[in-house]
C-alpha cells in the first residue's frame, strides 16, 4: 500500500458515529463529510473504513427485476415491490434470511410480515454462531460487557478467533490494550493467550499461543477441565499439546483475577460444533469456583446479536423461527436456512442485508438457483447474481439511523450522518411496503378463530 496524504478537504465532521461492520460496534468514529459524501473516516480499522468508504461502482441505486432473458432490468419502485410481494404472497414456504446488517427497526417490519405470511425468519447466526447459541442452551451463558473486560480483565483468551483480522479494534479498544480502571498500565497489566491451530495475527501479538491440532478443540478443553478438577492427565499430550503445558495454562487461568474467553468461528465451524462450545462454557463455569471468568462469542456482523435479541423478545426464540403453522417453531438443524435449503424446501427466498451467495456452501445455494430470490442490499454482490428482484436499501449508521446490539448485548443507537442516494429507500420502508402489499394480495393463513391456550400451558394451569 502506498502512502496516502490525509484528507483535509472536507466541509464538516460528524462525531461519534457507529461502525457498521463487526460485532465491536465501535461508536467513536468521525466521518469527514464533503458535499454530502463521506470522504474519510477517523478511528475506524481497515474493515470499518473500507465499509464506510464504500465502492460506489457497485452501489445498488435502482430497483431491478430479472427479465425473460435473465438480465436485471431497471424498474420503478412500484413494479419491483409488486413483483417481490407477488413472489412472497404466492409462496407456501418462504424464508426471510439476513437482517444482521440492518436495524432492529427494520426487523420489526420483517417479523410482522413473517408472522403474517408464515415464513421462516433466520439470520447469519445460522452460519456463524448458531452452535454457540445452541451450546449456551445446553450449558449456560456467563458473559460480561466489554467495558468490564477493559476495566478488570487481567487474562484474555482468544479461542478459534482471529480478532486482529475479523475484529481489528477488539484488542485495542476493549480487551488487551486499553487502560482500564483496575488495569491502569493497559497491555502490561494483562496476559493474552491465543488458542488456535493457526499461528494467526492475533497469536502473533499474544503472550502465549496454544496451537492445538485441527479438530482438537473438544479434547483440549476437556483436558483443561480435568486438570481444573484436580485430575492427572493420562497421556503425555492432548490434542497435540504437551501435558505440562496444559498444567501450566490451567494454573495461569486459575490465578486470574478476572479472565475472559473470547471465542470465534474456529470452534463453531469444526466438527465438534456446539459441543466444542459446551465444553468451553463449562470450563469457564468451573473456573469461577476459584476465580472470576466470563466469555463472549465474537459476533461477526454489527447486528447479528441484535437479531437474536430482537427475535427472542418478539417471538421467544433467537433465530430460525418458523411461523408456517401460525405459531413459532424452533428446532436447530430443522428450521434453519441451510438445512431448509439443502432439503430444497423453500419456494421463495428473501435475503436482506446479507450475502448467501458469498457465504453459503454450494450445496445450500444450489436451491437458490431454482426458486425466486429477492434481495434487499446496498451493493451488487454474489447474491445479486442469483437474485430475481433487487431492492436497493440504505446504509445503516451512515445514511440511516437505527438500533444495533454489540456482541456483548449493549444496545447502540447508530445515527445518520449523510443523506442516502435519492433513488434508494430505507430498509425499514422497503420491508413495510412489502408487508402492506403482501397483505393486500393474500389473506393471512393459519389464524386461530379464538385464542387456544397451548395444551401444555393449560394442564399447567390446572395443576
Amino acid at each position: 500500500m502506498t502512502y496516502e496524504p490525509p484528507v483535509t478537504d472536507y466541509d464538516h465532521i460528524v462525531e461519534n458515529c457507529t461502525c457498521a461492520f463487526c460485532g465491536c460496534n465501535c461508536d467513536d468514529l468521525d466521518f469527514l463529510v464533503k458535499d454530502g459524501h463521506v470522504v474519510a473516516v477517523r478511528h475506524a480499522c481497515r474493515l470499518g473504513a473500507s465499509k464506510v468508504m464504500e465502492d460506489m461502482d457497485q452501489r445498488l441505486l435502482v430497483p431491478m427485476v430479472r427479465n425473460e432473458e435473465g438480465v436485471l432490468e431497471e424498474v420503478d419502485w412500484d413494479t419491483a415491490l409488486d413483483t417481490a410481494a407477488k413472489y412472497i404472497a404466492e409462496s407456501v414456504r418462504p424464508v426471510f434470511y439476513g437482517w444482521s446488517e440492518t436495524s432492529t427497526e427494520c426487523m420489526k417490519e420483517g417479523v410482522e410480515l413473517g408472522e403474517y405470511i408464515g415464513a421462516v425468519l433466520d439470520n447469519q447466526a445460522t452460519i456463524c454462531h448458531g452452535p454457540s447459541l445452541q451450546a449456551m442452551q445446553n450449558a449456560g451463558y456467563p458473559i460480561q460487557t466489554l467495558g468490564e473486560v477493559k476495566n478488570r480483565a487481567d487474562v484474555i483468551a482468544y479461542s478459534g478467533s482471529n480478532a486482529m483480522n475479523s475484529h481489528p479494534r477488539h484488542l485495542a479498544r476493549y480487551a488487551a490494550f486499553p487502560r482500564g480502571y483496575f488495569r491502569q498500565r493497559g497491555r502490561f497489566d494483562r496476559t493474552v493467550i491465543t488458542m488456535d491451530p493457526k499461528f494467526s495475527d492475533t497469536a502473533k501479538c499474544s503472550d502465549k499461543w496454544i496451537g492445538f491440532e485441527q479438530n482438537g478443540d473438544y479434547g483440549f478443553y476437556n483436558a483443561i477441565r480435568a486438570v481444573l478438577k484436580g485430575k492427572k492427565l493420562q497421556s503425555e499430550s492432548v490434542s497435540g499439546i504437551p501435558a505440562e503445558d496444559i498444567y501450566e495454562l490451567v494454573e495461569e487461568m486459575e490465578s486470574a483475577e478476572f479472565g475472559v474467553l473470547f471465542f470465534g468461528l474456529g470452534l463453531t465451524h469444526t466438527l465438534g460444533k456446539q459441543r466444542n462450545i459446551d465444553i468451553a462454557i463449562k470450563m469457564v463455569q468451573d473456573l469461577n469456583a476459584n476465580s472470576k471468568w466470563g466469555l463472549t462469542p465474537m459476533r461477526g456482523h454489527f447486528n447479528v446479536n441484535g437479531f437474536n435479541i430482537f427475535m427472542a423478545y418478539e417471538t421467544g426464540w433467537a433465530f430460525g423461527v418458523d411461523f408456517c403453522r401460525g405459531y413459532g417453531r424452533y428446532m436447530l438443524g430443522e428450521t434453519n436456512t441451510i438445512d431448509l435449503l439443502v432439503r430444497k424446501e423453500p419456494d421463495c427466498f428473501m435475503v436482506i442485508a446479507a450475502d448467501p451467495g458469498a457465504h453459503f456452501p454450494n450445496g445450500a445455494n444450489q436451491h437458490l438457483a431454482d426458486i425466486p430470490v429477492i434481495q434487499i442490499d446496498i451493493h451488487w454482490g454474489p447474491s445479486t447474481e442469483l437474485a430475481d428482484v433487487v431492492l436497493p436499501g440504505s446504509f445503516i449508521s451512515v445514511e440511516c439511523g437505527g438500533t444495533s446490539y454489540r456482541m456483548d448485548g449493549v444496545p447502540i443507537w447508530m445515527k445518520k450522518a449523510i443523506d442516502k442516494p435519492e433513488t434508494c429507500r430505507d430498509d425499514e420502508w422497503i420491508v413495510r411496503e412489502l408487508k402492506e402489499r403482501v397483505m393486500k394480495l393474500r389473506e393471512e393463513p393459519n389464524v386461530a378463530d379464538k385464542y387456544v391456550p397451548n395444551e401444555g400451558l393449560a394442564c399447567l394451569l390446572d395443576k
Binding site: 500500500m1 465499509k51 465502492d55 461502482d57 475479523s166 444450489q366 437458490l368 447474481e385
Partner: protein
C-alpha cells in the same frame, strides 16, 4: 473529489523463491476457511465483482513447504478439490505459516464451492477441517460473476461446465440494461 482510499489490488504476502518443478502432483491436505482482513475489507466495501475481491477471496494460502512440493509460486493457479466440489484458486504463501498439510481459503463464493453443507443438525455448515487435494493447474481463476454463473447456472441455458467456464466474461462492473451510474454517482477512479 479526493476520497480516502481503501483499495488494495492484492493481499500482501511474503516472498517465495521456487526453483524446481515440484515433487508432488497432488497434495493431500486439510482445508480451512474463514475470514481475513483483506477479504473482509473487500467484501464490505462492496467491490465483489472486481479483481481485488478475486485476489482477496479466491486465494489458497499455503505453507511454503507445500508450495515447494507442488512447485507453485505466489499467484500461480491451483485446483482444489473436495467431496463437495472443485474450484480454481490463486496460490499464495500464508502469513500464518508454518501449517504444513493445511491450506486456508478465505470465505467467499470460491470457498463455497468446496466447503461442506453438512450441519449435523446444528444449523451451521462445516466450513473448517475438510479433506482436500491441491494440484497445479493452467485454468484461470474466475471473477465473481463468472464463477457464480459457472457454479449455479441460474441464468444460462447451458449445462456443460467447460462451456460455461469459457463463456465471455461478465466483467468487473454491474451488467444490466440502461444503467447510467456515472451520472448518478459522483465518483473518481
Amino acid at each position: 473529489m479526493h476520497y480516502a482510499n481503501t483499495y488494495l489490488a492484492k493481499p500482501v504476502v511474503g516472498d517465495l523463491e521456487i526453483e524446481s518443478e515440484g515433487t508432488t502432483q497432488v497434495l493431500k491436505c486439510m482445508l480451512n476457511t474463514g475470514s481475513d482482513i483483506y477479504q473482509g475489507a473487500c467484501k464490505k466495501r462492496g467491490s465483489t465483482l472486481k479483481e481485488e475481491y478475486k485476489n482477496a477471496s479466491g486465494t489458497c494460502y499455503m505453507d511454503p513447504r507445500d508450495m515447494v512440493k507442488l512447485g507453485v509460486k505466489n499467484w500461480d493457479h491451483v485446483l482444489v478439490k473436495t467431496d463437495y466440489g472443485e474450484v480454481v484458486l490463486n496460490a499464495a504463501r500464508s502469513r500464518d505459516a508454518p501449517h504444513q498439510g493445511t491450506v486456508f481459503v478465505c470465505k467467499g463464493p470460491w470457498a463455497n464451492t468446496i466447503t461442506s453443507h453438512e450441519t449435523y443438525c446444528c444449523s451451521d455448515p462445516t466450513y473448517k477441517g475438510i479433506h482436500a487435494t491441491v494440484e497445479k493447474t493452467d485454468r484461470e481463476v474466475l471473477l465473481m460473476a463468472d464463477l457464480m454463473r459457472w457454479v449455479y447456472k441460474k441464468y444460462v441455458d447451458e449445462e456443460d461446465d467447460d462451456v460455461v467456464e469459457n463463456m465471455e466474461s461478465l466483467g468487473e462492473r454491474p451488467v444490466y440494461n440502461g444503467r447510467k451510474w456515472e451520472e448518478l454517482i459522483d465518483h473518481d477512479l
